[in-house]
Amino acid sequence: MTAASGRAPRDWRGALDWVAVHSIGIALGLMFTLPIVFVLLTAVMPDEQAFTADLWPREWRWGNFVEVFERAPLLTYLGNSMLYALLATAGMLLSSIPAAYALAKLRWRGRDAVFLLVVGAMMLPPQVVAVPLYDAWSGLGLTGTLWPLVVPYFLFDAFSVFLLRQFMLTIPQSYVDAARVDGCTEFQAMLRVVVPMARPGIAATALFCFLYTWNDYFGPLLYTSERPDEWTLSLALSSFKGMHHVQWNLAMAVTLLTMLPAVVLFVLAQRSFVRGITFTGVKG
C-alpha cells in the first residue's frame, strides 16, 4: 500500500512510529472486541455466577445456549424475525430495482426532483409518520401482525432505492445504449444488462435491508408488542429477562444468538458489506 510496505523501518523514528501506530491499532481491535468477549464469558457461566464480580466462568456451561430454547419460545421469535427480514428483502428487490433503474439510467424531466424526495424519505425519522400509519393499519385491523412491517417494502424503500441508484450510476451508459440499439426494450435492458452488472450492488443492498429489518426494534414494538406470538427476536430480547424470569447468563446467550446472523452474513459476504457501506457515504 505504501512505498515502505513490507520493508523494515529504516531509522529509529520510523521504528517508533511503527510501534506507536500498531499499538494503537491493537488497542482499538481489543476495544471493539472485548465487550463481546465479556458477553460470551457471561453466557456460559453457571446461573449463580452471572453478574457477580467474578468475570471468568467457574465452569463452562455451553448447554446454556440450548437451555434458552427450552425456557422461551425462541423458535417462534426466530421465525417471525426471519419472516419479516426475508419478505421485506424480497419485496425491496422487486420494487427498488426498477425505481433505481429509472433514476439512474433513464433521462426524464423531474428526475432530479424525484431523487431529492427519495433522499428526504430516507432521512425522515420513522417516528414522524408513526401516528397516521398506526391509525391506518389499526383501521384495517392489521395491527398485531407483521403486515404493517412487510408491505411497505413491496412498494418503496428509500434507502435501497438510493443505494441501488448509486451503484447503477457506475455502470457506463454506453452498455445500456448499446442494448437499446440492439432493439431491447427498457425492461430487457434493465434485466439483461444492468441487473447482471449491478449484482454486487444488489447483493450489498439486500444485505443491508435484511440486517436493518432483522435489527429493527421500533417497527415491531409499535405493531406487535401486544401480541407475543408475533414478536421478533429483537423485541423479545428487550423484555427477555423480565418476561421469562431467566438469569442474566441466559439473557446474554440470547443476546449473542440475535447477533449471529449478522456475523454469518458478514463472514460470507465481507466484500459486499465494505463496498456497500463505502457507497452510502463517498458518493452520497
Binding site: 505504501t2 465487550p35 391509525d135
Partner: protein
C-alpha cells in the same frame, strides 16, 4: 421524451410512487392535521386548534426530552465524527493487519441495537462490571452508569460509538482514496506525518466528514431503541408492554424526544399530542436533510459538468 418513454418511466416507478404516497406523503400531511386535534384512536378526532402546541410549552417532560435529544445531537455528532476519523487515520497507517482491525471495528455495527445496548448493560455494570473493575485498578471509583441520571446518557453514547464502525469504514475509504502522489510530494518537501495528515488528508476528505456530521445529527434525532432498552434494563422492569415508569429511567435522563413521542402516542394514546411532537421533529430533521441535499446537489452539478 416520447409518450412511450414516459410510460416506461411511469411503469418502472409505479410501485415507488404508490409507496411514497402511502407511507410518506399521506402520513406527513396527516401528522400535521392530527396535531391540531385531540384523538385517542377510538373516538373520532376533535379539532382543538393550537392547544397541543400550547400544552407543549408548559410540558416539563417535553422540555426534558428536547434537552436530552439536544445533548445526544451535540455529543454524538462530535464524538462519532472525531472517533471515526481517529480510528480510520490509525488503520490507514497500519502496515500490517489492516483487514483484521478494520473487520473488528466494523463488526459491532452489525449488532441489533437491542443487543448492543444489553452488551453495554453488562460491560458498564456498576461496581462489579468489567469497566468499573478496570477503573478500580486505576484507583478510580467507577460511576453507576445506566442507574445514575448523570451517567446514563454517556453510557448510551458509548453504545452508539461502539456501533459506529460503518462511519469509520466510509472515512477510511475516503482516506485511502487520497492520491499517493500528494503525500509523496509533501514528504519530499519535508512534511512529517502529522502535517501531511493536517494539510492533505483532512481537506481531501472534508465532504465525507460533512456526511458524517449530517448522518450523526439524523441518528441522534431518532435515538430511541438504546434509550428504551437501557432504561428498562436498568430499572429492572424489562417489560415491553407493561408500565410506563421505566421510560426515561433514571429520573427521565434517557427520555429522548422520540421516546416521549412514543409514550404519548402509544402508551397514553394521546395521538394528537404525539402528532404535534412529530411535526416538530419533522421540521428539525428537514433542516438537517436540506443541508445534505444542498451539498449533494453541488456534487451532482460538478459531476455533470465534467
Amino acid at each position: 421524451m416520447t409518450a412511450r418513454r414516459r410510460l416506461t418511466v411511469l411503469a418502472l416507478l409505479a410501485p415507488a410512487v404508490l409507496g411514497f404516497a402511502a407511507f410518506f406523503g399521506y402520513p406527513l400531511v396527516a401528522t400535521v392535521v392530527f396535531s391540531f386535534t385531540r384523538y385517542d384512536l377510538i373516538n373520532p378526532p376533535e379539532w382543538i386548534g393550537l392547544a397541543n402546541y400550547e400544552y407543549m410549552l408548559g410540558d416539563e417532560l417535553f422540555a426534558r426530552a428536547v434537552g436530552n435529544t439536544l445533548w445526544f445531537v451535540v455529543v454524538l455528532t462530535a464524538t462519532r465524527v472525531v472517533f471515526a476519523l481517529g480510528v480510520a487515520s490509525v488503520i490507514a497507517r497500519l502496515k500490517s493487519g489492516v483487514g483484521l482491525v478494520r473487520t473488528l471495528c466494523y463488526l459491532p455495527s452489525l449488532a441489533p441495537p437491542v443487543a448492543a445496548t444489553l452488551v453495554f448493560f453488562l460491560v458498564l455494570r456498576p461496581n462489579e462490571g468489567p469497566v468499573d473493575t478496570f477503573l478500580g485498578w486505576l484507583g478510580v471509583q467507577g460511576p453507576l452508569w445506566f442507574a445514575d441520571p448523570a451517567w446514563a446518557k454517556p453510557g448510551i453514547a458509548a453504545v452508539v460509538l461502539w456501533v459506529s464502525g460503518d462511519l469509520m469504514i466510509i472515512v477510511l475509504a475516503a482516506i485511502l482514496d487520497v492520491p499517493r502522489e500528494q503525500y509523496e510530494a509533501a514528504e519530499l518537501d519535508g512534511a512529517g506525518p502529522l502535517r501531511r495528515w493536517w494539510h492533505i488528508t483532512l481537506p481531501s476528505i472534508s465532504p465525507v466528514l460533512l456526511f458524517g456530521v449530517v448522518n450523526s445529527i439524523i441518528l441522534a434525532l431518532q435515538l430511541f431503541t438504546q434509550a428504551v432498552v437501557a432504561g428498562s434494563a436498568a430499572s429492572g422492569s424489562a417489560d415491553v408492554t407493561g408500565s410506563t415508569k421505566d421510560l426515561g429511567f433514571p429520573e427521565n435522563s434517557t427520555l429522548t424526544f422520540p421516546v416521549w413521542l412514543y409514550a404519548q402516542g402509544f402508551r397514553y394514546f394521546d395521538m394528537g399530542y404525539a402528532a404535534a411532537m412529530a411535526t416538530v421533529l419533522f421540521a428539525v430533521s428537514f433542516l438537517a436533510t436540506a443541508l445534505l441535499v444542498q451539498r449533494m446537489r453541488r456534487a451532482t452539478h460538478q459531476e455533470e459538468g465534467a
